[in-house]
Every structure is written in structure tokens, then in C-alpha cells.
Symmetry: C2
Subunit: 326 residues, 2 copies
Amino acid sequence: MNNAELMATLKKQAALIDVVMEKDLTIIESPLLAQIIRHAIFQGGKRIRPLLTLLAASLVGPPPAETARLAISFEYLHAASLLHDDIIDHATLRRGAKTANTIWGMEPVILAGDYLHARAMAVACEVGGPTAMALIGRATAAMVESEFLQMHNATEMLISEEKYFQVLTGKTAALIAAACEAGIACNHGSAEQRLALRTYGTNLGLAFQIIDDLLDYLGDPGKTGKAVGNDFQEGKMTIPLIKTLEQAEDKDHETLVALLKATPQERREQLSTAHALIEKYQGFVLARAQAELLLTEALAGLVIFNEANTKAHLTALAYYVLNRDK
Amino acid sequence: MNNAELMATLKKQAALIDVVMEKDLTIIESPLLAQIIRHAIFQGGKRIRPLLTLLAASLVGPPPAETARLAISFEYLHAASLLHDDIIDHATLRRGAKTANTIWGMEPVILAGDYLHARAMAVACEVGGPTAMALIGRATAAMVESEFLQMHNATEMLISEEKYFQVLTGKTAALIAAACEAGIACNHGSAEQRLALRTYGTNLGLAFQIIDDLLDYLGDPGKTGKAVGNDFQEGKMTIPLIKTLEQAEDKDHETLVALLKATPQERREQLSTAHALIEKYQGFVLARAQAELLLTEALAGLVIFNEANTKAHLTALAYYVLNRDK
């Protein structure tokens, strides 16, 4: 199969995941609750987490039929965390559409997040038992802990690469790693196989977030649905900027630090200055190289599996993450 | 044992539950997260839900050692829902102390609620497997659904007793019933025994909430930690008022409806009018009689068990609920 064919199979599987979610969500009684949850789930989304669960399970052998239900629990958890994140960040737009909190306000959206969260865990435990639940429990704990770490880091102005990756590991990579590992576990894979997929997921998750950081500076707003330079304007230290600060000569370092101390308004006006300095010190190139390295490591770990077809899909997914423009 | 001795044993068990929670919560890494969760859990609380899990398990036979861990998951869920409820209600006081959202703001408290929620489910699934998890999943879904039902009801001014009980069943009784049923299930009780405890828990939960409604009108603020007449001031239809409206002659009915349409300020000024009308139509007496009836039914269902000592404790707990002043 060539890459286009691989991506087409993944799209087909994503559509099947949507069917499973559609059916599962008919359990909801309140029309408003159903509406909010459907908005959270079907307003876009790439289904990367449930696809990974299905692919990981396929590495071990033909996956049991209920694997798709285990898989959706990871999409639910992801959607639940986005609902609460958007409240916390007072976000008004996601995937080019109004956020749920903008449409319905805080009250029902906190509750809808709680519902999805509980549903995720109920479904995961029903299908995957205490093993899947332990994976999900640890991933959720890591997500919350990393948000607290991020809040703590926000009190310092300059963040080290190490601290930044510590946050990313909890915030994005933990759930993706759990989605991968759960696929192996539900198909009775070995401890070695679980470790390989946990590593694949962690590295893929970190690379995913680095690409997100790059798109924030370099993306086409028409495709990403987000304004360029958002992170910088908010004073967020992400990988391109962190790498630049590590390399910058004193004068340029001072310029960037002064901008980080300035107001969001000033940072918006000086975005091109920051952009030029990141270019000068190869912040974008270095960040991209790191994402590529992480994906190479992720894929290297798959050597222990024989399923060539599934490995090809996991490789295609990794390159999709690397080359996505939205 | 007399009642004082029974309550003393329950207090001792509650203290043991606190020890189990203390130990379990050392898993939290972020100091701020730990602080918020400790505030949510150890700032008061009667531990009724975990006590019920332990007592229910004892009805079947000596409970397995890990029952205490299953029990704490119900206290965690309760605390998680209070954290989110207080954000939604913009509540500033609970149990006579500042609410977490008042102290730390919305952001970390939403996340702390998510953490506790996930921890509850992870612990429950670890100890009680998919059976306990299914009970918790259904109870959480019922809690959220009932909040949506309540929001929907709020668009109507007069609520029927039936609709009111429908909300209460999801909001308070479902989790208490799940805590009871999980105790039976974890000790391998029969379907009949599970049903008996689910019924006990549902009725106890409904009675608990009726007493809450009565305390809102009749309680001593020094003990309840809440102002008298809060519910009426907010225009909340609770059982004493619903029963009064059912009985009231046209003129009195109109007076109450006019007050419900008035401003909170006007309702605060006219609280004594409402109070007098509820007295006139025996709204308080009828509400209390209903709570007593529910508890009688709750206890009648325990006849299938032989464990006299545990039944005595469950009876003491029921009367504690009925006679509490805070």
C-alpha cells in the first residue's frame, strides 16, 4: 500500500469509530447533554487516540470485536479534557467552531465533561477490566498533575527544555501512550510489547505537541483555525522559543526576555521580531529535527512486531503527525 | 449496644476511613493539588457513603480487607461533585469554611475535581472490578443527568413532587444507593441482597435530602453553617414548599406564586410569610413524615439479613440522618 492508501484505510477506521461512538452515546437521556457531548466529539477531531488503540491491538493479532469500544474511551477522555480546558482558558474557538462554553456557558459544560469522563472510564473498565482502567487512571492523573506543573512553571518566566517536556509528557503524551498500551493489553500482549507501544505513544505524543507548537508560529490560519503567534502573544514558552533562548547571544536573549515581560499587546506588535530571532537561531529547524528524532525512535521500537501491514499504518500515522498542516 | 455506642462505633469506622484516604492521597505529586483535595475531603464531611459500603459488605459476612479502599471511592466521588457544584453555583461557603473555588479560583478546582473523579474510579475498579465500576458509572451518569433535568425544570416555575423526586433520585440517592450496593457486590452477595441495599440506599438518600430541605428552613445557622431560607430566597422549590402548594387555597397559592416570581431580595424580606404558609398547610410536618416513611421502608428491606449488629448500625445511621441538625 502506498501512503495515500494507508491514510484512506485509517480514515475508514476513523469513520467506524464514529459509528461506535454514535451508538454508545444514545444512552444519554437529556437532549441538552447529548447536544453538548455531540458537539465536543463530532465537531472535527482526528480520532488519533482510538485509531492507535485499534492499531496497537492489531500488532499482537486480530483484535477482539470489543476493542473498538475500548478505543472510544480514549476519544471520550480527550474530548472531556478539551471541554474543561476550554472553560479554564476561556477559549472561544476550537477547530474553527465556537467552543461549547461559548455556546452553552460554564455550568452545563463542566457537567458534560464529567459525564464523558465517567463514561470513558465505565466503557474502558467494562471492556478492558482493571488493566485498562489502571492505564486510564494513571494517564488522567498525569494530565492533571501536568496542568498543576504548568501553573507552577508559569510563575517562572524562563522554562528549561526539561521542564517543558515534563509538562508535555503528562499533558499530551500520557493519554496517547495509554491508548497505545491499552490496545496491546486488551489483546493479551507481553510486557515487552506493552513497553514498546508505551514508548511509541509517548514519543508520538511529544512529537505531536512540538508540531503543534510549530504550527502556532508557522501554520496557515485558514487551515489551523487559529491565529498565528497565539502562544507568543500569551507569553507561552514553547519549544521553538526555548531552543532559541538556549542559543541566543546576550543582546538577542535580552530582547526576547524583554518581550516576554511586556504586555500581550506589545508582543503581538513585535511578533515579527520574535519570529526573526527564532529563525536566526534555528529554533524552528531544531524543533522540527527533535520531532523527527522522536518519531524515528517511536518507529524503531516497533521492530519487535511482525505485522508489516499494521506497522505500515503506524508509520503512516507518525508521518501524518509530522507533516500535518492543521 | 445503645444508640450512643452504635454512633461511637460508626465514628471510629469513619476515622479509619480517613486514615485510608490519607494514605491513598499521598500518591498526589503537586503540593497545590494535594492541598485542594485535602481541603475538599478533610474539611468536615460525615463519611456516610463509605460507612454504608462497609456496613453493607458486613451484612453478607466479614468484609474483605480491601473493602475500605472501595469505600473511599464513594467519598472521593462525592467530594469531586461538590468541588464542581460549588464552582457552578458560585458558592462561597461549605461546612462553615470557604469553598475551594473561593480560595484557589476556578481553574485548579475544576482540575482537582477531575483528579478525584478519576482516582475514585481507578480505586473502585482496582478493588471491585467491572461490577463496582459499572455501579459508579451509572451513579455518575445519573448525577449529571439529574443536574440537566434540574436545569430543565428551572425553566418551569412550579415543579411537581414527582419531578422533584426524579431529580433527587439522580442527584443524591443514586450515589448513596451505589455505595450500598457496591458493598454487597464486593462481598459476593446475591442479586436479592444487592436489590435490598440499593433500595435502602435510594430511600436513605431521598430522606437525607428531604431533611436537608427542612434544615434549610428550620435549621440553626450556627450548626448548619448556612443562612436560614436560602432555598426560598433563591426561588428553589423544595419539598416543604411543593407540599404546601399542593394543599394551599387559591389565595395562599397566589401569594406564594407571586413571591416565587418576585426578586430574591423580596423573597428574603417575605421569608416569614412563606414560612407561615408552609406551617399553615403542614408543609414541614408532611415533609418530615415522608422522610420517616422512606426510612421505615429502607429499614424494612433489611429483614432478609441476619447480621443483627450491622443492621443495628444501619438503623442508627438512618435515625442519625433523620434527626441530624447539621
